[in-house]
């Protein structure tokens, strides 16, 4: 290839624009979806409150919350309650790989809400949680 200014521009753009997906983009895309499904304004404090809220379950003793496995602080590594396996921090500020893949976010919101709350989270709750996590600095 001739390395003249006509090649340089597309080459520079290719490098600059091929930045890997960021958490911000993926989360924003999901928030837009939730809004289109009827969610109102998202609030990180509501997300934080939901994070800590204890839920009881008919068949098991004790309570469950997001913090049960992820700890009170999503910037810290968590631990699976039963297997003791270490879980990477969920806050993108502490873990750049977190909240980058929208399919993965959807899958784990579904599984974790079912386990913790006993039901799927509403679009409002999901948006509040993601806003809380994204805003953690």
């Amino acid at each position: 290839m001739r390395m003249d200014k006509f090649m340089a521009i597309p080459m520079v753009l290719t490098v600059v624009l091929s930045v890997p997906a960021q958490a911000d983009d993926s989360v924003d895309a999901l928030l837009a979806t939730y809004r289109s499904q009827g969610a109102g304004e998202f609030d990180a404090r509501a997300g934080a409150a939901l994070w800590e809220r204890p839920f009881t379950h008919a068949k098991t003793p004790g309570t469950r919350s997001c913090a049960t496995c992820y700890t009170d602080d999503p910037r810290r590594a968590g631990r699976h309650l039963r297997t003791k396996k270490s879980i990477e921090p969920l806050a993108p500020s502490a873990n750049p790989k977190s909240l980058v893949d929208t399919a993965k976010i959807r899958k784990w919101l579904k599984r974790n809400c079912r386990w913790t709350l006993g039901r799927e989270c509403t679009v409002q709750e999901k948006g509040d949680l993601l806003t809380f996590l994204k805003n953690m600095s």
């Binding site: 699976h80 039963r82 297997t83 003791k84 396996k85 599984r111 079912r114 386990w115």
Partner: protein, 188 residues
């Protein structure tokens, strides 16, 4: 000269074969023959499937398929909606490709040292769902007191291999690489 060289070659050849014979002697204590330079392979074929690690290694260690027979894996994959009390359901294509991977690399297919011992320790139709229920596994762990495992907050249960087996994720369960949290090395 040729005869001399032939005799020397035959001599060394038979010594080598004899040596290999010793190396493959089957006994219960693994430690003597592990990680010897002529047997660099780990005891179980390590997981080399990123999809499996991602889907089946999030909540617990991604257990090497060579630790259970194919029938165990088939039954497990057929019941993911109640996977030891949790819903671990997968979409259909992922479910199929992971089942194929597990069955193709299961203990009854694998030639790894521990896979073969696991199968030998099982009756023909046995297909336990828990690795910890394998007779081979029980034998290998039967001297460990509960305070080091169940009552150890950093371990919790025998299914938490990586807590003590530092080489587990590369398929090695060699005694030399064991470090029990809060306790140290294990020497049988």
């Amino acid at each position: 000269m040729r005869i001399f060289l032939t005799v020397i070659a035959a001599l060394f050849g038979s010594l080598f074969i004899g040596w290999q014979g010793l190396a493959s002697v089957d006994d219960d204590s693994d430690s003597h023959y592990e990680d010897q330079w002529w047997q660099p392979r780990p005891g179980v074929a390590p997981v080399a499937n990123p999809e499996y690690t991602e889907e089946c290694g999030s909540c617990h260690m991604a257990y090497p398929p060579g630790l259970l027979p194919a029938e165990s894996w088939r039954t497990m994959m057929a019941g993911l909606d109640d996977h030891f009390g949790e819903n671990a359901g997968l979409d259909a294509p992922t479910h199929q490709s992971l089942t194929d991977y597990l069955v193709a690399n299961s203990a009854d297919v694998s030639q790894s040292r521990r896979s073969r011992k696991i199968i030998r320790s099982l009756s023909a139709s046995a297909a336990p769902l828990r690795i910890t229920d394998l007779p081979y596994f029980r034998h290998e762990h039967d001297k460990i007191p509960p305070r080091l495992v169940a009552k150890n907050p950093d371990v919790g249960s025998l299914s938490n291999c990586v807590a003590c087996h530092r080489g587990a994720e590369r398929g090695s369960f060699s005694e030399r690489d064991i470090r029990i949290p809060g306790f140290g090395r294990w020497d049988d």
